[in-house]
């Protein structure tokens, strides 16, 4: 069982959380200017690294708030979790 630290509530079991995909993706400001290729990038193409990944989680069965996390997808080890709007922590190079 993963133990995940909600930045608002503290450490809780994985059961209470929902994964929210890659973090720091912004919706295009001018949707009408986007072509098919841009939409593909925005809708479908996501980082899928074997290593550190910045991602969103939601403490859905707790405070229900979204927050960000950096996790190593090789081990599922969390480097850090942080509130929305806070700068991302520095990610190790490997």
């Amino acid at each position: 069982m993963l133990i995940i630290r909600c930045p608002y509530c503290g450490e809780r079991p994985e059961l209470e959380f929902a994964y929210g995909g890659q973090a720091h993706i912004a919706r295009p400001l001018q949707p009408s200017d986007q072509n098919d290729e841009d939409w593909n990038v925005y809708l479908n193409l996501r980082a899928n690294p074997k290593g550190w990944h910045s991602e969103r989680w939601r403490h859905i069965h707790g405070c229900a708030r979204f927050f960000n996390a950096v996790r190593d997808t090789r081990t599922d080890h969390f480097l850090a979790t942080y509130k929305m709007g806070e700068p991302a922590p520095e990610v190790p190079s490997t």
């Binding site: 069982m1 098919d36 290729e37 809708l43 899928n48 996790r71």
Partner: protein, 415 residues
């Protein structure tokens, strides 16, 4: 030396003290140049190598596997084979695969133990029932065998179902031609047959990079050195994004862990395959007697190949809910594989932006059933440069054109 497997050769070797068997496949040195290179020694890569040789006469072929063949998802899956899809393009493709499976033991001279014991999807509420009817109708329209059953008929066919379940069993659909096969045998059978036709199967050899010159693939860099070829096919499942990135490609693929486990072996008690989407589990019984139980995806990116505890618990609870009599069985083994999930649960099989580099991935949680057809179509593409008619709709360009084949929402194909 005994090559062909038959009752006669068994008898002869029995009398000769089993001394004449030769290894099922050769263990060759990698050559510097090939006519085609296939990356990934799972079912899809091995089948591709075999059909390159068998269907297209290309025998100067290398299959490069980082670990041992069948050590990826092919050796980790729960071996359910079926073609109960919704859209015509998927149904045609997967049913072609089931048909190839029906003749595969003979084709490869290797017993893959394909047992067409039927494959049931249970409906636990009114909406599930409506989806089941719709799904059965779609299958019949696609020319695939399907039976809709009401509750008494489900219970008559599957003894031992919980008489008083929390999630009522209202009905279900059966695909009688569905079933299971021995996963290792599929990998080994293709490897043996491909090797006999001249394919070099190179294990413990990791592809580290591509050799690309002028936008065209010219080979691969591996842990055993460079191998050149103007045609490279990749079938690396959960590692597709990682390998594609070496060629500068981005894929709409997410890698997730999917887990399964088996119980201790018991006497035969379940002679079909049962999927219960509502309780989050599916199960069958292997020929050894173990119950083979599959859980859901851990829905966060991972290459850790473990499988989470909550999902394991949920699947186990689902089994006990369906069959209270299994509640005292002990677990024997648990494992996970890293699967390559795409939004529409339809494979990606086609050319890439790099000339000569072809891709086979996106099988997600259900690509074992597709092994023969996936290999057939990737071989066709690599040999002729043209997509096989059965795989034409599976190109990666669909994510840009929007022509998705959304089996995820249409047939409720898991995840």
């Amino acid at each position: 030396m005994t090559r062909r497997y038959s009752a006669l050769s068994l008898l002869r070797e029995g009398v000769n003290g089993q001394r004449g068997w030769e290894p099922a496949w050769r263990n060759p040195q990698a050559k510097a140049r090939y006519d085609a290179i296939v990356i990934g020694g799972g079912g899809h890569g091995l089948a591709t190598a075999y059909y390159l040789a068998k269907n297209h006469g290309l025998t100067n072929v290398a299959l490069v596997e980082r670990g041992w063949i069948g050590g990826g998802n092919t050796g980790r899956n729960t071996t359910v084979i079926r073609s109960n899809y919704f859209f015509p393009a998927s149904a045609a493709f997967y049913d072609f695969s089931v048909k190839l499976y029906e003749g595969l033991s003979k084709e490869l001279n290797y017993n893959i133990m394909f047992s067409q014991r039927g494959m049931w999807t249970l409906a636990h509420d009114r909406h599930g029932l409506e989806m089941a009817r719709r799904s059965a109708n779609a299958m019949l329209l696609n020319g695939i065998d399907a039976e809709f059953h009401d509750e008494p008929s489900v219970r008559a066919r599957i003894p031992g179902l919980n008489p008083d379940p929390r999630f009522p069993i209202l009905g279900g659909i059966n695909q009688p031609r569905g079933g299971t096969a021995r996963h290792d045998a599929v990998a080994w059978g293709y490897a043996r047959a491909a090797s006999a036709l001249g394919v070099d199967i190179i294990q413990n050899c990791e592809v580290l990079d591509f050799i690309i010159e002028g936008g065209r693939v010219r080979g691969v860099e591996t842990s055993l050195g460079a191998m050149r070829s103007d045609r490279v096919g990749m079938a690396v499942a959960g590692h597709s994004s990682v390998i594609a990135a070496k060629a500068g490609l981005r894929l709409p693929v997410s890698s997730y862990a999917l887990q399964a486990f088996v119980s201790e072996p018991v006497k035969p008690c379940l002679d079909t395959v049962i999927l219960s989407p509502a309780t989050g589990t599916y199960l069958s019984q292997s020929d050894k007697g173990e119950l083979v139980i599959g859980a859901g995806l851990d829905l966060y990116l991972s290459y850790a190949q473990r499988g989470s505890l909550p999902w394991m618990e949920r699947a186990a609870a689902g089994v006990v809910e369906l069959f209270p009599r299994f509640s005292r069985l002990r677990f024997l083994r648990q494992w996970a594989g890293i699967v390559d999930v795409v939004h529409d649960s339809t494979p990606i099989l086609g050319p890439t932006a790099v000339d000569g580099l072809f891709i086979n991935c996106g099988w997600g949680t259900g690509g074992f059933k597709a092994v023969p057809a996936g290999g057939w179509c990737l071989a066709h593409l690599m040999a002729t440069g043209e997509s096989h008619p059965l795989a034409r709709a599976f190109g990666i360009e669909r994510f840009e054109t929007g022509a998705l084949i959304d089996e995820a929402s249409a047939s409720g194909i898991a995840h």
